[in-house]
């Protein structure tokens, strides 16, 4: 048992420290990547708000045009129907020249109607494009929120790293105590060993959680569409 404890103590004394240093390094690199100058961020967000407001104004104007065109399209359609009924009536009873004239007028009305519907479609598309632009303009806001979340993750990661370091110190201390008991009283050494095992388990659980937190930071950064890249 003593041998196995020593072996585990060696492991506890070598790779975990390397792991903690690696974690600390990752954390500081992420920190450098995430924490930008808040003033720059604020300026970008304000600029984005202006841009978004302009884009939204464009969407509203296009929609207004589409509404007016729809009015015309409906009126034209009613007129077209009446003209078609007239053309049909002339074709059945009237002189052929009147039927031809009514048919031509119907065709003209239909062309006008079709053109209006096309314009209406174009206006709706323009409104949709403007809405999409507005969404893109707003993306710094999303990025800003994600950045704030990343910062909260980092604070948590810092605290956990500190706790992991303390816990690791405790594991090493407990291991020394277990070894001492092993030489004097076997039964006490066993319970000390159990304490050490549970401390070690807590420590490695904390490390796993720490890794998850760092992944959370990384995911947050990836999720953010940072200003300057979103319009590419």
């Amino acid at each position: 048992m003593k041998g196995s404890q020593q072996s585990s103590g060696r492991r506890g004394g070598r790779w975990p420290w390397r792991g903690i240093r690696w974690l600390a390094g990752r954390l500081s690199r992420r920190r450098r990547a995430v924490v930008a100058n808040p003033r720059t961020w604020c300026a970008l967000v304000t600029d984005a708000e202006h841009r978004a407001a302009e884009d939204f104004g464009r969407a509203v104007r296009s929609q207004d045009i589409a509404t007016r065109q729809l009015d015309i399209a409906i009126q034209l359609r009613v007129l077209l129907r009446e003209m078609r009924e007239l053309a049909t009536a002339w074709a059945a009873v009237g002189p052929p020249e009147l039927a031809t004239a009514a048919g031509a007028a119907t065709e003209n009305l239909r062309t006008a109607w079709k053109r209006i519907v096309e314009l209406e479609g174009a206006a709706v598309d323009a409104a949709r494009l403007a809405v999409a632009d507005t969404g893109r303009s707003l993306s710094p806001h999303r990025a800003y929120a994600v950045r704030a979340r990343a910062e909260r993750w980092q604070t948590l990661a810092d605290l956990e790293l500190d706790l992991a370091l303390r816990l690791h110190g405790l594991v090493v201390e407990q291991h020394g105590l277990t070894s001492q008991w092993a030489e004097e009283r076997h039964d006490v050494a066993e319970s000390a060993c159990a304490v050490e095992a549970s401390l070690r388990a807590a420590w490695s659980q904390l490390l796993r959680h720490e890794l998850a937190v760092i992944s959370g930071v990384a995911d947050s950064i990836r999720a953010a569409r940072f200003p300057g890249t979103d319009r590419q």
Binding site: A53, V78, R84, K114, G121, V131, T134, H141
Partner: protein, 104 residues
């Protein structure tokens, strides 16, 4: 079957072409309805984006979305008009053909 009146048959054929055009028009109207649907759903999602930025603008965006819905309803009315028109053209064609055969 009774011999068909040529001029009436010609009229019926012309109306058949008009019916085809009416069908085309209906497709355009349906395409317009789809565009409006997309715009409405984009505005809906966009309002959610504005919620966290400026609730006042979010409310305006929702108002725009409502307007698009009302436009959509009117285009639906337009489509109903076209369907009615197409059905009238069809019954007119049937009537002319019956008349031409001396069945009317």
């Amino acid at each position: 079957m009774a011999p068909i009146d040529e001029s009436a048959r010609k009229r019926a054929q012309d109306m058949e072409k008009i019916l085809e055009l009416a069908r085309d028009d209906q497709q355009d109207t349906v395409a317009l309805m789809e565009r409006l649907d997309k715009l409405a759903s984009e505005l809906f999602e966009h309002a959610l984006d504005w919620d966290s930025v400026d609730p006042e603008v979010a409310a305006r965006v929702r108002k725009q979305a409502e307007q698009v819905h009302s436009m959509h309803k009117r285009v639906e009315k337009l489509a109903e008009l076209e369907i009615e028109e197409a059905s009238q053209i069809m019954s007119e064609i049937r009537r002319i053909l019956k008349e031409a055969r001396g069945e009317g």
